[in-house]
Structure formats: structure tokens, C-alpha cells
């Protein structure tokens, strides 16, 4: 009897329990999502990446000396390794932006045209994803030089090779041309999933062409012929009004508030003041944008910047203007002022029609208007001999460089790229700097250990993995 019982128990136990693999399912996270939602995520990531003043990720506002630090001055002095700054910026672009764009395109294509949509809507979405992809890669190439491209974003290739920066850049222009051709401005696209243009394809078309204009101008010294055709093709299809500016709209609640709000207001910290290098120039010009850029300090109240790179007492210097630190203040990808400055450069190089002075004036006007300056102040400013194109100091690079620097305030990355191409304004490294003023970011420390041979080859190919190495577009 007892033996039978024992056998019975064993039998019963062994006969239970099947369908084992069904347990191993993540029932809390989605297995499929719409491609649109991945685009939303990627767009948010890239807006945060280029906008944040978080010292761990993005210090371009310091490199171009718009701001300087108060107590903890490491980043103002170009320490980019105590915190893994290049790695963080790189991760945002590859992992959070480009990978999600790639996945978005894949899912959108697999899903196909949605019921009730014209086929062109899907084509538009894919074209917009492509434009953002080109934008993301352009930032990567302009930051690092050679980067993984043809072998990137493929988890089956764990050691992706780095491609030549100029070759990538040319391919990006080809891809951008294709995307521009694909756009059907009469049809819809992402709608509310797009926090920039809310799906307005006509505006995306202008942004794509503005990006093309800039990429063409970036190549001016590296490949003049390609630059000329690219700029000429784009010149009449670009952003024509401040209403078409490429702005990414944040919302008031964390974590999707503007990162400037997060780091300057919500953090409760007093890390940044305006830099003397920048504010001195604006004071000298009595620039009408000062009140929109900075607060005053002292008695009587004046605009005064902290000494760049040195320790500065927060209470004694101008702070970032409160309007720019609002939670819902948008990220700026592109604006009319930048377009007009690029056209001014294009005119100087003979790529586009019109005079440089005309575009220059348009650019300054667009900039001051966008910040809320009046027509009278604009007219007075443009009449100032230190501002007027005919009488301002220096070469065209210096004239445009100086005013473009002022107009690109709060857009550290774009200002940094412009500075590297035009070589103006003249910026001087502070006495305690740990390196020269960065002309590129070094490859991430993680690449040393995770993709060492390819990184080393890329470093050698660009002339040394150093912040002082000039990239292919930075000839002077």
C-alpha cells in the first residue's frame, strides 16, 4: 500500500507543470508600439540633447563663452573627462535619437498606410524621420569627425567601424535631397506626435531645406563645388519667417519641461552667470537683446558678466533672463536669423544671389524681432556703425561671425559649429584651462574600452583624438 502511494505521488508530481515558456513574458511593457510614438521619443531626446545646459552632457554654451560657471569651474576650463561628457552626448545621439528614429521608420514601414490615410502621409512621415536622422548624424559628425555610420545601429555588429566624416556628410546630403523630394506638402504627416511642426509638411520642407543650406555652408571649405550646388538648391526653399522657425515645444510638467528650466530653476542651483566676454561685446553695441538674454546686477543695475573660466560670485553678475528659463520655453533647432546669416555667408562666397549686407540685416532683424525687440530699436541698431555691414570691423567672416554669435545665444552647439567655420568671434581659453578651446569632442572613454581598435584607427585618421584636432570642415 505504502509503495503504491509513493509511486502515485511521484506520478502526480511529474505529470503537472507544463507551458513553462509562457511564464517568461514581460506583461508590463509593450511588445509593439506605433512608429509615431518612437518618433516622438526620438524628437524629445534630440531636443533635450542640444538644449540642456547639464554639465554632464552639453557644455557648448561655455565653450562659446555665452555663460561661465560660478564656483565649480571645471567645465569652463574644458575638463571633459572628470564627467564623461563626450560619452553622454554621443549616447544621446546614437542610442536615444538615431536608434529610435531607425526603429520608428522600420515600424512605420511595417505598419503601412493607416486606414483613412492617403499613401503620401506615410511617405511624409518616413521623409520627416529621414530629415531628423540626417540632422542627428550631422551633429555627430560636426562634434566628433569620423564616426560609425555604415555599420552603426546594428546590434549584430558590436565593433562598428568608423567612417570618414566628409564621406558621411556627403551621403547625408544625398539622403536629405531624397527626403525633400519625397515630401508631399499638401498631405499630413505626424500630427500631434510631432512637437515641432505638429505634422505641417510645408514647414518640415522648409526646415529640411534650411538644414541642407547649413550643411552646404559647413562644407564650403571642404568641398566648395558640392557646397555651392547644395546651397543654391536649398536657398529659395528655406525658412522665410520667424513663424516657420523649427521650435520644439516643451510642456510645463517634469520631466518634459525645458532642460534649461530643469537645470537652472528646478535644481535650485546657482551654477551659471553670463560671461564677460559675451556681455562686454553686447554692452559695447548697446545690443537691444541684452534685456531678453540676461538680468542686470549691481546698483545702478548693469549687465555685467563673470570673468570667463574664473570663480565668480553669483550675486554680482548677470543671470540668464527668466523668460529663457521657463518650463515651456521651446528648444530651437533652426530659425530665420540663422538662415539669413547662412545666406549672407553664401552671398559672400557667391553661392546665392542677393547681397551679404541685405541678408545680414535680415538676420539681425529676425533675431531681434524673435526676442520681441521693436522696429525702432532694430533700425537704430542696424544704423550703428559698429553693426552696419559696411562699417563693422573686419572681414566678412568677422562681421557675420560676431553678429551670428550674438544671434545664436542659447544655442550653444550651433554657435560652436559656426565659430569653428567662421573663426570669429575670437575666443581665448582661460588661464586655468586644461586644454585649448575644444574644436571637437574627443571620442567617449567607453569607446576606448568597448570599440578600442576602431576608435584608435579613427583617431589616427582625423589627425589625433584630441580636442584641438581640426575637423574636415574647419580649415582655418
Amino acid at each position: 500500500m505504502k509503495n503504491i502511494l509513493a509511486i502515485l505521488i511521484i506520478f502526480l508530481l511529474f505529470s503537472s507543470c507544463n507551458k513553462l515558456d509562457e511564464l517568461n513574458q514581460n506583461i508590463k511593457d509593450p511588445a509593439t508600439v506605433p512608429g509615431e510614438s518612437l518618433f516622438t521619443g526620438a524628437q524629445l531626446a534630440v531636443a533635450n540633447g542640444i538644449t540642456t545646459p547639464n554639465v554632464n552632457r552639453n557644455n557648448f554654451r561655455l565653450y562659446v563663452q555665452y555663460w561661465t560657471e560660478t564656483t565649480y569651474t571645471d567645465e569652463s576650463n574644458y575638463d571633459i573627462t572628470s564627467r564623461p561628457i563626450p560619452g553622454n552626448f554621443w549616447n544621446i545621439l546614437y542610442r536615444d535619437v538615431l536608434m529610435n528614429l531607425k526603429e520608428s521608420a522600420k515600424v512605420l514601414a511595417e505598419t503601412g498606410t493607416l486606414p483613412g490615410d492617403a499613401p503620401a502621409v506615410l511617405t511624409n512621415k518616413l521623409a520627416i524621420v529621414e530629415v531628423m536622422t540626417v540632422y542627428g548624424y550631422s551633429v555627430l559628425v560636426e562634434t566628433f569627425g569620423n564616426v560609425p555610420y555604415t555599420q552603426a545601429l546594428d546590434p549584430d555588429i558590436l565593433l562598428p567601424a568608423y567612417d570618414d566624416g566628409l564621406t558621411i556628410y556627403k551621403d547625408l546630403i544625398t539622403r536629405l535631397n531624397k527626403a525633400i523630394l519625397d515630401m508631399d506638402q499638401a498631405q499630413a504627416s505626424f500630427g500631434s506626435a510631432d512637437n515641432m511642426y505638429h505634422g505641417n509638411v510645408a514647414q518640415w520642407y522648409k526646415f529640411a531645406n534650411s538644414l541642407k543650406l547649413r550643411m552646404g555652408m559647413v562644407l564650403a571649405d571642404a568641398d566648395n563645388a558640392l557646397a555651392a550646388t547644395t546651397v543654391a538648391e536649398a536657398a529659395d526653399k528655406v525658412i522665410m519667417s520667424n513663424a516657420d522657425n523649427a521650435l520644439f515645444w516643451y510642456i510645463s510638467s517634469q520631466p518634459n519641461n525645458n532642460p534649461v528650466n530643469e537645470n537652472l530653476v528646478k535644481s535650485g542651483r546657482n551654477d551659471f552667470v553670463g560671461a564677460n566676454t559675451f556681455i562686454d561685446v553686447m554692452n559695447d553695441l548697446a545690443d537691444p537683446r541684452l534685456e531678453f538674454y540676461f538680468t542686470t546686477a549691481g546698483d545702478p543695475p548693469v549687465y555685467v558678466g563673470g570673468e570667463y573660466g574664473a570663480s565668480n560670485d553669483f550675486s554680482q553678475f548677470s543671470h540668464v533672463a527668466p523668460a529663457l528659463t521657463e518650463a515651456e520655453y521651446p528648444a530651437i533647432f533652426f530659425d530665420l536669423a540663422e538662415v539669413e546669416f547662412l545666406l549672407a555667408e553664401g552671398a559672400e562666397r557667391g553661392f546665392v544671389g542677393g547681397t551679404a549686407a541685405e541678408h545680414y540685416n535680415n538676420a539681425i532683424t529676425a533675431s531681434i524681432e524673435a526676442y520681441g525687440g521693436t522696429a525702432d530699436t532694430i533700425a537704430a541698431y542696424l544704423a550703428d556703425p559698429k553693426v552696419a555691414y559696411a562699417t563693422a570691423t573686419g572681414t566678412w567672416q568677422q562681421k557675420i561671425g560676431m553678429q551670428k554669435w550674438i544671434a545664436l545665444y542659447n544655442r550653444g552647439f550651433d554657435a560652436w559649429t559656426s565659430y569653428r567655420i567662421l573663426d570669429f568671434p575670437v575666443l581665448v581659453a582661460p588661464p586655468d584651462a586644461v586644454s585649448v578651446l575644444p574644436l571637437r569632442l574627443t571620442y567617449p572613454i567607453a569607446e576606448q574600452t568597448l570599440n578600442g581598435a576602431n576608435r584608435a584607427a579613427a583617431g589616427a585618421a582625423i589627425g589625433g583624438d584630441d580636442v584641438g584636432t581640426k575637423l574636415f570642415f574647419d580649415k582655418n
Binding site: C17, T40, G41, T71, T81, D299
Partner: protein, 1119 residues
């Protein structure tokens, strides 16, 4: 599984029908033939049954013997077993002989199977419950420190914090390396629920490891199974060794009139004092500031205006107000003005409620430095237990209350635990057993760990030496507001980086609570003389709530839910908030085993097991938090969120493993044993078509001393050898990718996860070879146990960090090999043994050599963690697991000296951060125990030690830069304060040589040309010492070696005679001093054991609590 419980119930009822037979009570005393002293703890058993008891402290026993049985067996370690056939008398007194030839010590092995230790082909080591219970601690695991060769326990100073339990080194590159805890055969969850951010020194709390719920008062003994061969039957989870805990069972107490009912009451109180050697020694000459770049004399001050209405402004709003000197309140460093008694306005002049409101106070070093912040932790432990044994079984019921007021203000740990276990011999073929333990653990105010938002981080790295900590306390007590020393500005009285520390403790405290039940029921049915069937159902389940608070008015810091999978990454900043984590865990085990034991002939014995195990684990976690702050102050609830509630993070996992196993042991003439086991697991976490994996083990032992019975000097000698493989399956959900849902911005916002999973995973496999030699001499007065092992883990399931240009952070792969080889030695000696006095010595020593043999092809480094300060902890091919990477010095080719740039006197450092600058693994560890007993007195002490192992100190990295430590304000080689400016013989002309009144210091090293460096470095500004530009990471890596006098104990048993006329049968008084003396260490200002918490990331110290010396008094009454 319902079927199985039904069967158990059936077994139970079948048993009830057994007829209770007639029996008689036998009692007596067992003494030693050597000196006629009574022997406590002798097992007394009715032959042919499971009925039995043990002798008490006076060697007395009482046993009920059914009439049909005539023989009782007495057995005891080191004694010859004695069989007694019962006669007429009901009193049986026997005298046992010392057995120098046999060692019949029985130990509990895998699956709870008792085995004679001599027959084992693998290493085990035991610790008694009394040893782990001597020092009453918040985590009993800490008590194992130094007690077991090869078991490396790293504790930290966090209140209720986790202990890292590592057996024979790290075997898994990124998986769990913690040893498995088993109570009476039931695996006990030992999860560490700390967040990934906390492990990497981000903001967080150390919530401890779940094994700390085990109540040491209930532990009878602990047996540690060290190698895979010992634990192979447990399957995949036991690759890291097993800590087997046997709980106390009910025994009959003699000498009372209460039918053997035993009552024990134990009470203990302890108090702790900070060991100053583990805290900061502050410099006392300079106060707040980062250097000379403000205003006023020396540029060390804020210039502010006090208006007639009492407001303070930066600008003289009221014309003609004289400016006044204010301390630079916003600066969290002590690189400011020298203390000269000058009257200045300090932080306490800002708040209208302050007694010093708008008054100056002398500029001087604080009367009370932050060490005064610590309280004296008080711990009370009370245990009441009752127990008894009857004819047909036994029971024990115990209740323990543990209360600890922590080192920090407003911190408290409380544990209540009830345990009941019992055995019922239902009839002559069926025995049922049950065990249940319910515990309630409450904690309040655990210390924040890591870099951010940690008061200790402030005191060790960011502090003003002019701030009197007790004044901060007075201000908090007076105002109940956040009146901090660290105002954004005297004119803007909000905190900037640090709150008043008392505000943090009393307002921003966390609480957590864990209710847990661990239990099992089992039945053993004896089918024939040589076969029995054993079935067991066991459960371990808990629910835990962790709540974190930040009060309105605090410094903004990262708080709430971030984007990472566990909600801890890139959290937004908030000045207030509430966050909760709800965790539910349950594990069920169903075991069924057939045991057989048969003598095949006079020489051969065959034992075997055939069994199966079903394990089911459910884990779920919900993290929710407010966003954008709290609307109503002091109301901590989700609906009080200012902003819309962010997405909660939810996780639910279910894992099931089906195991089948068999084992055979063949014994030949009691001196040659051969064991073999095989287990096959089928896991729900592996791909469907490839989810089963078998693994074998084989072990042999040979008691060579049996061959030389006449060698009197050799009491016992055994060699053993084994080989084992253990498979391991991946964790939950490692196969299929899912998307992440992010906080929506106007519409659904998603992302590709940062980890790419792998649908083709295979199980990991650990292979080990172990050999050992165990010898006892001179009647067991001297002995040793030596073990040598080599363990290799291959096919590791590895979250491999990859270049993010692949689109991912991590890819899950099967790759990599880690090798551990080592030596363990346990030495035991009794140098003196007389009738009244005995001296026992035990020494444990172990060395483990660890090497990462390979990773993936083309990949030679695996980054395990990344830390503030730019250092990483890595597994690098060819190196031990856990090397610290960072920047290093440049060394001179010829001399090997550190190279210094003659232009500025600073060390040159590498431009890359992938230099190996440390290794977290100790070279060797051990413990040295001494016990002296004299009559009723017993004195013991334990010294434990670690040689080698490196630790990176973020405290010194920052704290030297900010000028807190005494090392930043000394008299230099010229006899001047080091912080004085550098001066030259001809002012302004460096070529004229340094003047005799020059400050600054000269780094030791050579210039690139090989000449000794003579360039001075100015130390007048922040950053001359510490992290900033001068020093590589290597400068902050310290040797973590230590020698500690871990505890001394003195106990006294009040003689039974003295208590004869009372109702009390015994009183033991024990006094213990623990962590008494750090006899040696190289890490300044901190305990080298003070890491962040348990886990694979060790070797990093930031903002840890100091160590306390604890003194306790324990009284044990038996009734």
C-alpha cells in the same frame, strides 16, 4: 500544485490513524569516562525509530520509549557510539568513551540530509548558533565574519545595511554572486532591492539584504557548503555556495517540575560609540570659502548691506548703508579666510528667529565638529522561548523583539519575529514536521548613501569648518524650519546645496516595512527499513513598502521617477516629493524525495536519493512618485503631487524551475566513500526548445587513518576529492525585447530599450574541482582542514556593455569565462585542557585568486559600474574581477618615479582613463578566534583581517580639494602654513628661489629629465589638494587591508547550586565588546569595509557612516 498539498494532507490523515502504543519513560545521566563530567548535547535515540532527545547542560536526558523497542543509542561527536539494551530499570546512566578513531559528527548537507561528516568528499564548515548570536546586530550575516575560511563577508556601516556574502570569489561576471541561504531546507530569498543608481553611488538608500530577516536567536547551527559538489543538488542557485541554517528544535528540559517544559528568556542591551579613526579629522585653521575671489579683507567675504528694516541686500538699496562682512554662506568648502576671531556675520545672523540675528560673531573654528551629529546607537533585544519534547514529538515557540536607535538622529530599526516549529511522530512509519516564522521589520530614517543628497557626503566632502553642528541642531529645534548653514546668499535665505542636517533627518526621512512569512510542512514516510519517502512544501513570502520623502523647503535634488527601467536614472530635480516602492515576493518549493540506505554486505553500504523539486518565484514591484513637488506641506501621498503624476514603473516576473535529481553514495568499510549526483533543471527563463540542462557531480573521500589504527598521534585523517558542474539559467525576461514607454509629451512617447535581449540564450555552467585534507592529532587536540579548489564558470549570461553606436547600451550574450582558484585552511587547537580550564584556538585563512579568462571575441573589458570621479569598476581579460580604472600617474622610464611637470609642479597624468589603478579583491582574509573557559567563566575574542584589496575614496577626492581635512592645513617644509602664498627671494621673480616665508608644497617625484622636482605648488586656493587638476584618480586609491579586533566576550554561568532554591534553572551573563579596535588600516578617515552596499560593485567609498564600537550586556535565564 494543489495536487501536492492534497497528498500531503492525505499523508497527514493516514498518520492520524496510527495507534498510540504503550511506552515507558527512561531517564539518566551521560558522563565522560575520561573525567566523569556530564556531557551535554548527546543524542539519545530509540533504535529503529526517529524518537530521540539530547542531554541537557547537566548531561541529563529523559526519553519515552515505546514498549516494543528495547535498545537506545547514545551518540556524540568524538565519542564512541554506545548502544544500551533496556532492562528492568527506568534509569540508564552511561559513561561514554572518547573515540579517537572515528568521527561520527553529523552535519546537515544539501537538501537537509544529515550525513556523517567523515563521509563527505567536499568541504563544509560549521558555526554554532551561539557564535552568531553573541553580538546582537541588525544583520546576523555580519556575525559570520572571520568564522568561515573562504567566506568573505563585507559589511558596511549603513544602518540595517546589506552584507556582501561572497564564497570563494566572484563566479558570475554580472549575475548574483551571493551565497544561497537555506533555513531547515527552505531556500530563503536574499534579494538586495537597492537600485542600480544606489549601487553606483547615486542617490539612494541601502535597504539591506533579505537574509537579515533571519532571527539569530532561532539558529541552532550553521553549516556552510563551500563548493559546487556540496551544493550541486540545490541546482542552479547554489553555485555560489550555501549557508545552511538549522533552527532550534524543542527539547525536554529536566530538573523542573513542569513536565520538561523549558522556558528561556534572553535580554540584551548594547550601546555604540563612534570610532573617531573612521571619521574626518578636520583642519581647524580656515573656514568657509573656495579661495580668495570674493570681497573684503583677503577677498574672503561677501559684502552685503543691512537695511534699516532688517532686510539684507546685495546692493545698497538704502543709500549710505555701510557694508558688512558676511561669511560666504553659499560655499560648501573650507578654503576660506583663516580663523582670526574677526567679528563677521555668519549663517546664524540671517534668520529673524536666531539669537544671533543680525549680530556678528567671532570668526573661529566650530566648537562642535560634525562628529557631534552622531547619536549613540542603542540596541535592545529580548527573546522569550518555550519548548518541550514529548513521546511523540517536540515543539519550540519563540518571540524576539529587536529595537535599535541608529547612529543618526531620527533613525530606528525594529524587528518582531515569531517562530514555531514542531515535530510529530505520528506513528511508527510517519513523521510530520512544520516550521513557521513570521517577521515584521520596520525601519525609519536609513542613511542616504552615495554621492548626492547624503549628509555624510557633506560632512566628508562639502562642509564649512566654522559651522557648529550643535548650533544647527538648536536652530532646527527652535524653528522646525530649514535654517541651514548653506544659504544661497545672506540676501536670499534659501538653501543652495545642503539643508540643515537636522532638517534632513527629521523631515526628509525614509521609512520601510517588510512583513514576511517563511515556513514549511513536511512528512517522512518510512516505507521499509531501508527506504523512506519525504515530501515538503515550503514558502517564503514578503511584502515590502519603501517610502521616501522630501519636505517642502528642502534643497532641490533628484527625486522621484526617472527614465531607467528601475525608475532611478536621470530623475528630475524636485525640492519636495513623495515616492513609494511596493514590492511583493513569494517563492514556493515543492520537494519530493525517496531516500534509501542499505548495507549491501558487511563492507558495502549504499545510500541514495531520487527526488524532484519544483520552484516557483513571483516578484512584482511598483514604483510611484509625485512630480514637481508637493502641494500641501508634510502630506506625503501621491494625490498631493503638484504636477501630474509621472508614469509609475511596474515590473512583474514569474519564474519556474523544474528539477529532478538523483544521488548515490557508496561506502566501503567506513573508510572509503564515493558519491555521485546528477540534477536536471528545466527553467522557464530559457528558450522553449533549449530549456533543460543536466549537470553531474562526483566526490570521493578516503579516511586513511583507519588503515593505521595504532598510530596514537593521529586521531583522524581524511583526503577528499570532487568534481562538480552546476548549471544556471538566466533571470526573468532576458529573451525577448519590449519597448519602453516614456513620460508622454502630448502623445504616446516610446523608445527602444537600452538593452538588447537574446532569444538564443544557453545556461551558464560552473565547473569545479576541489581537493582537501583533514587531519586531527593527539586526541583531537590539534587539527586542520585544508581545501584547494579551482572553479571555472563558462558561457556566462552577460549583459555586455557595447558601444552605444550599436543603438544599445547592453547586449545580453552567452560568453565569458571566470576562474577562481584558492586555498582555505581552518586550524583548530586546544593548547590547554584541564579539568577546570580550557583554551581553544581556531584560525581560518583563505586566499582566492580570481581571473577573468575571456569575454566575447574582440572584447577584452566589461565595465561593471561607473562612478562619480571618473573611475569605473571592470572585469578585464587577464585581470581579477573588479579592477578599478582611472587616470594614473606617468612614471619615469628609468627610475619608475612619478613624473612632475617642472612648469607648475603638478604630477603628469595619463590622458586616458582605462588604466588599471586598483583591484578590489583582497589577497587573503581570515579570522583568529580564542576561547578560554575556566569553570563557569568563558572569555573569547575574534580578530579578523584582510590583506590587500583596493578602495577608491571619493571623500578624499573631494574633501582634500575643499580643504576639510587636516592634510590640507599643515606646516610645510619651510616651516610656514602650506596655504600661505608662494613667495620668492626677489618678489615676483621665480628664478630668485623661494623665500623662507613661502607657502605651498613640493610634490615628490622627478621631472621628465629625471631630476628631482623642486617646483612648489601654491595651496592658497581650492583644488591644490584633492581632485581638481593636479592629481590622477590613482592618488585616491587606498589599500583596504585591515586587522580588527572584531569582538571580545566574557560570560559567566551562575552555578546551578546558587539557583537551587529559586524557580530559575540557569543564568548566563555575557558582556561583549564588538568592533573594539581597528588595529591596522591604510584608508584614512574611514573604515576600509565601508562600501556602498552588497553586490558586485565593491571598492568605492563615499559618504559612509563611521564605524561604532559597541558594548553589550546579555542576560540569559532559563526556567
Amino acid at each position: 500544485m494543489r495536487k501536492f498539498t492534497m497528498i500531503l494532507a492525505l499523508l497527514f490523515f493516514v498518520g492520524l490513524q496510527g495507534v498510540l502504543a504503550q511506552s515507558r519513560d527512561i531517564s539518566g545521566v551521560v558522563t565522560s569516562s575520561e573525567d566523569n563530567t556530564p556531557i551535554p548535547g548527546v543524542t539519545v535515540q530509540v533504535k529503529g525509530t526517529t524518537l530521540g532527545t539530547a542531554t541537557d547542560v547537566d548531561g541529563k536526558y529523559s526519553l519515552s520509549v515505546p514498549d516494543k523497542y528495547k535498545v537506545i543509542i547514545f551518540s556524540y561527536v568524538g565519542m564512541k557510539p554506545f548502544e544500551m539494551t533496556l532492562g528492568e530499570s527506568n534509569t540508564v546512566n552511561i559513561s561514554m568513551e572518547t573515540n579517537v578513531l572515528y568521527m561520527n559528527e553529523v552535519v546537515v548537507t544539501a537538501l537537509g540530509i544529515p550525513r556523517e561528516k567523515k563521509s563527505l568528499g567536499y568541504a563544509t564548515q560549521e558555526v554554532s548558533g551561539a557564535d552568531v548570536n553573541m553580538v546582537k546586530q541588525d544583520n546576523f550575516v555580519n556575525s559570520l565574519q572571520g568564522q568561515i575560511a573562504g567566506l568573505n563577508i563585507t559589511t558596511n556601516t549603513n544602518m540595517g545595511g546589506s552584507a556582501n556574502v561572497l564564497m570563494r570569489g566572484n563566479k558570475s561576471l554580472t549575475g548574483d554572486n551571493q551565497a544561497l541561504f537555506i533555513i531547515d531546507g527552505v531556500p530563503v530569498n536574499n534579494d538586495i532591492t537597492n537600485s542600480r543608481a544606489q549601487e553606483q553611488a547615486g542617490t539612494g538608500y541601502d535597504y539591506g539584504n533579505a537574509a537579515s530577516d533571519i532571527n539569530p536567536e532561532d539558529i541552532e547551527s550553521i553549516n556552510v557548503l563551500k563548493g559546487s559538489a556540496a551544493s550541486a543538488l540545490y541546482g542552479s542557485r547554489a553555485a555560489n555556495g550555501v549557508i545552511m541554517i538549522t533552527t532550534k528544535k524543542g527539547k525536554k528540559t529536566l530538573g523542573t517540575k513542569r513536565s520538561g517544559l523549558g522556558v528561556t528568556f534572553n535580554t540584551s542591551a548594547s550601546i555604540g560609540f563612534v570610532d573617531r579613526k573612521t571619521f574626518v579629522d578636520y583642519q581647524d585653521q580656515y573656514g568657509a570659502g573656495y579661495g580668495a575671489y570674493y570681497y573684503g579683507p583677503g577677498d574672503f567675504w561677501y559684502e552685503r548691506y543691512i537695511n534699516p528694516d532688517g532686510t539684507i541686500t546685495v546692493d545698497p538699496t538704502y543709500e549710505g548703508q555701510p557694508s558688512s562682512l558676511w561669511v560666504v554662506t553659499s560655499e560648501d568648502a573650507s578654503y576660506g579666510a583663516p580663523f582670526d576671531g574677526r567679528p563677521v556675520y555668519q549663517w546664524d545672523a540671517v534668520d529673524p528667529q536666531s539669537p544671533n540675528y543680525l549680530k556678528t560673531t567671532p570668526w573661529q573654528n566650530a566648537a562642535n565638529d560634525p562628529v557631534e551629529f552622531f547619536e549613540k546607537p542603542l540596541t535592545f533585544t529580548n527573546t522569550l522561548s518555550i519548548e518541550n519534547a514529548f513521546k511523540n514529538g517536540n515543539y519550540r515557540l519563540s518571540y524576539t523583539n529587536f529595537t535599535q536607535n541608529g547612529l543618526l538622529p531620527n533613525s530606528k530599526l525594529e524587528k518582531n519575529s515569531v517562530m514555531l516549529n514542531g515535530t510529530w511522530n505520528v506513528n511508527d512509519w510517519l513523521t510530520v514536521q512544520g516550521y513557521g516564522n513570521y517577521s515584521i521589520n520596520n525601519a525609519k530614517g536609513r542613511n542616504s548613501t552615495g554621492y548626492n543628497d547624503n549628509i555624510m557626503g557633506s560632512m566628508r566632502q562639502w562642509w564649512q569648518t566654522n559651522v557648529d553642528i550643535l548650533q544647527q541642531k538648536d536652530m532646527y529645534d527652535l524653528t522646525k524650519r530649514n535654517v541651514t548653514w548653506n544659504y544661497s546668499d545672506p540676501s536670499d535665505a534659501v538653501p543652495i546645496y545642503w539643508d540643515n542636517p537636522y532638517w534632513t533627518r527629521y523631515q526628509n526621512y525614509e521609512t520601510d516595512n517588510r512583513n514576511r512569512f517563511i515556513g514549511n510542512v513536511s512528512g517522512t514516510a518510512k516505507i521499509t527499513e531501508w527506504l523512506n519517502i519525504f515530501g515538503r512544501f515550503s514558502v517564503d513570502t514578503y511584502s515590502e513598502l519603501q517610502e521616501e520623502r522630501r519636505a517642502v523647503g528642502s534643497v532641490a535634488g533628484t527625486f522621484g521617477i526617472g527614465t531607467g527601467p528601475d525608475g532611478s536614472l536621470t530623475r528630475p530635480d524636485a525640492e519636495s516629493g513623495y515616492m513609494r516602492r511596493d514590492i511583493r515576493y513569494s517563492e514556493y518549493n515543492y520537494d519530493l524525495m525517496a531516500n534509501f540506505n542499505k548495507n549491501l554486505s558487511n563492507s558495502f553500504n549504499l545510500k541514495g536519493i531520487l527526488g524532484m523539486n519544483i520552484r516557483k518565484t513571483n516578484y512584482s514591484r511598483l514604483i510611484s512618485a509625485t512630480s514637481g513637488g508637493l502641494s500641501v506641506p508634510e502630506l506625503y501621498s501621491l494625490q498631493n503631487s503638484k504636477g501630474p503624476l509621472p508614469l509609475s514603473k511596474e515590473l512583474a516576473s514569474e519564474v519556474k524551475v523544474l528539477g529532478m535529481y538523483a544521488s548515490v553514495s557508496l561506502g566501503f568499510k567506513n573508510y572509503l566513500y564515493l558519491d555521485g549526483t546528477i540534477r536536471r533543471d528545466q527553467s522557464s527563463t530559457l528558450p522553449k526548445d533549449n530549456n533543460a540542462y543536466p549537470y553531474p557531480s562526483v566526490a570521493a573521500s578516503f579516511i586513511f587513518s583507519q588503515l593505521t589504527p595504532n598510530a596514537k598521534w593521529l586521531s583522524f585523517g581524511k583526503v577528499r576529492l570532487n568534481y562538480a558542474e552546476v548549471g544556471n539559467s538566466p533571470g526573468f525576461d532576458q529573451l525577448i525585447d519590449n519597448y519602453l514607454i516614456l513620460s508622454p509629451i502630448n502623445s504616446l512617447t516610446t523608445a527602444v530599450p537600452t538593452t538588447q535581449k537574446n532569444p538564443d540564450l544557453k545556461p551558464e555552467n560552473t565547473k569545479s574541482v576541489e581537493g582537501g585534507l583533514e587531519m586531527y592529532f593527539l586526541g583531537r587536540r590539534l587539527g586542520f582542514d585544508l581545501a584547494l579548489y579551482n572553479t571555472t564558470t563558462v558561457n556566462q549570461i552577460l549583459p555586455l556593455p557595447v558601444s552605444t553606436s550599436t543603438g544599445y547600451n547592453i547586449k545580453i550574450i552567452n560568453a565569458g569565462e571566470i576562474k577562481n582558484s584558492g586555498v582555505e585552511l581552518a586550524l583548530n587547537a586546544t593548547p590547554v585542557k584541564t579539568k577546570n580550564f580550557q583554551w581553544n584556538v581556531a584560525l581560518n585563512w583563505a586566499a582566492n585568486k580570481n581571473e577573468v579568462v575571456s569575454l566575447l571575441d574582440g572584447v577584452d573589458n566589461l565595465q561593471l559600474g561607473r562612478f562619480q570621479g571618473g573611475v569605473t569598476i571592470n572585469a578585464m581579460v587577464g585581470q581579477p574581477y573588479g579592477v578599478i580604472y582611472g587616470t594614473d600617474y606617468i612614471y619615469h622610464d628609468a627610475s619608475g618615479e612619478k613624473v612632475i611637470d617642472p612648469a607648475n609642479g603638478q604630477y603628469l597624468k595619463t590622458s586616458t582613463s582605462d588604466n588599471v589603478i586598483g583591484n578590489v579583491n583582497p589577497d587573503w582574509t581570515g579570522g583568529f578566534m580564542n576561547t578560554f573557559t575556566f569553570k563557569n567563566w568563558s572569555l573569547g575574542f575574534l580578530i579578523d583581517f584582510q590583506k590587500g584589496g583596493d578602495i577608491f575614496s571619493l571623500d578624499l577626492y573631494y574633501g582634500l580639494a575643499t580643504g576639510l581635512y587636516e592634510e590640507t592645513a599643515y606646516t610645510n617644509d619651510l616651516g610656514n602654513p602650506v596655504r600661505d602664498p608662494i613667495t620668492y627671494n626677489t618678489p615676483g621673480d621665480p628664478t630668485s628661489g623661494y623665500a623662507s616665508n613661502s607657502g605651498g608644497f613640493v610634490n615628490e617625484g622627478v621631472n621628465p629629465d629625471g631630476n628631482v622636482n623642486t617646483t612648489r605648488i601654491a595651496a592658497a586656493n581650492y583644488g591644490a589638494f584633492g581632485y581638481r587638476r593636479g592629481l590622477p584618480n590613482k592618488a585616491f586609491v587606498y589599500d583596504a587591508s585591515f586587522v580588527k579586533l572584531r569582538h571580545i566576550s566574557l560570560s559567566y554561568n551562575i552555578p546551578a547550586k546558587a539557583l537551587a532554591k529559586t524557580f530559575i534553572t540557569g543564568i548566563t551573563i555575557t558582556a561583549v565588546a564588538s568592533n573594539v579596535w581597528i588595529m591596522f588600516k591604510n584608508l584614512p578617515h574611514a573604515d576600509p569595509e565601508s562600501g556602498l552596499g552588497a553586490g558586485n560593485l565593491q571598492g568605492y567609498s563615499t559618504g559612509s557612516l563611521p564605524t561604532t564600537r559597541d558594548f553589550s550586556l546579555n542576560l540569559r535565564f532559563t526556567f
